[in-house]
Homo-oligomer: 225 residues x 2
């Protein structure tokens, strides 16, 4: 999607996170959308924040909603890739569920901007964002299948399966209220998920197995869009 061809000369020095103009635009937009609001931010303001002309921005993104779509995709690309790669692994469902929750909490915590706060925008319910919603629903389904299998393995009813995905996303609210989510959320949230699905063992043992699984799978580098 990105057009990395020559644009106009920069108005100012690069001062944005990112190694390409496209990455700088995304970083600037992420800051403005999360701190000023999506509706309150124009593509002109994004271009100004990057230090490029608005016409140069349009080389990369035809409209503001294309920028939002690319940013939202970033928030789920990593855990979605992990879920795909875990499918072939022989580990117990509760181990995979822990690994997915741990990885996802970690990336939601570490992301430079709290982009998950944009999930509740009314704009996301429009047709324009149907593809993003479908991808996020796919990720949610991965969580729900792993949680249902974990509950079944523990002899528990599967109706709790809706909760782990939601508990992971509470990192977004914590960041919004407290600027950052404490490092301990990377243990507290996956541990709580183990308890919610009724797993009888010590969450610490599940954690150890999940960490080994993540190491075995290596770095999760999502396909770029």
């Amino acid at each position: 999607m990105a057009n990395l061809g020559p644009g106009r000369p920069r108005l100012t020095q690069r001062r944005r996170q990112g190694t390409t103009p496209r990455a700088e635009i995304l970083d600037a937009a992420a800051e403005l959308f999360t701190t000023k609001g999506y509706a309150n931010t124009s593509t002109r303001a994004v271009a100004d924040a990057v230090g490029i002309r608005q016409a140069s921005l349009y080389h990369h993104f035809a409209a503001k909603d294309d920028i939002l779509d690319a940013l939202l995709a970033q928030t789920i690309a990593g855990p979605a890739e992990l879920a795909r790669r875990m499918a072939e692994e022989p580990d117990a469902a509760v181990t995979k569920l822990y690994a997915l929750a741990l990885f996802d909490v970690r990336q939601l915590r570490a992301a430079r901007w709290n982009l998950g706060a944009l999930y509740l925008l009314p704009e996301l319910r429009t047709e324009r964002f149907a593809t993003f919603r479908r991808h996020r629903d796919d990720l949610r389904e991965h969580y729900e299948l792993l949680a249902a299998d974990s509950a079944a393995a523990a002899g528990q009813p599967g109706d709790v399966a809706i909760l782990p995905f939601r508990l992971v996303e509470t990192v977004i609210g914590i960041r919004s209220d407290e600027e950052s989510a404490a490092a301990e959320t990377e243990r507290l949230i996956p541990d709580a998920i183990v308890r919610i699905v009724g797993h009888p063992g010590d969450p610490a043992a599940v954690r150890t197995a999940a960490q080994a699984l993540l190491i075995r799978l290596g770095d999760i580098v999502p396909e770029s869009d």
Copy 2:
């Protein structure tokens, strides 16, 4: 705060939820803020949706942020009042925690508009909403104290105490994604909280005690602002 004195004649028949002009303005604004977005909604649009003149709206609210502030206050008034009234009761902390979560999930589910979706607005981090943020922090602290006491009674570490408040608020994301939160969330979420704080007994027993406590306390009618 409300000025219920005579305004101008209505342009159209009342068609809003609410028995007073003020309540109708709040209902119309809640619909527009949650479906079109806060930044995308003018006070003029709110007045139009009620069928009153903009000048009449200003009898009740001096500015758009005053409407938002009143709506946000509604989202926490009930559980905050319940937390106050439970303070004197002799029940176990885990029973009070269950009662608070059950009551709060119920009101977040039942509210006509999903106002919690507005918690993540960047506007809420401004000085204008410091009072609302303080009141919500007070409610969060009630949850955290009850959760810490519940964990201590179960011989568990208290660091999980941050999670119950967050898990209750996942109703907001569920409503945003699925239009409504299923009735079973009124059982699933408080039951999950009982497991998270490490309570060794059956959540169903805690639920029975919590329901009895809620009945004993009678209807929770928050003070109107």
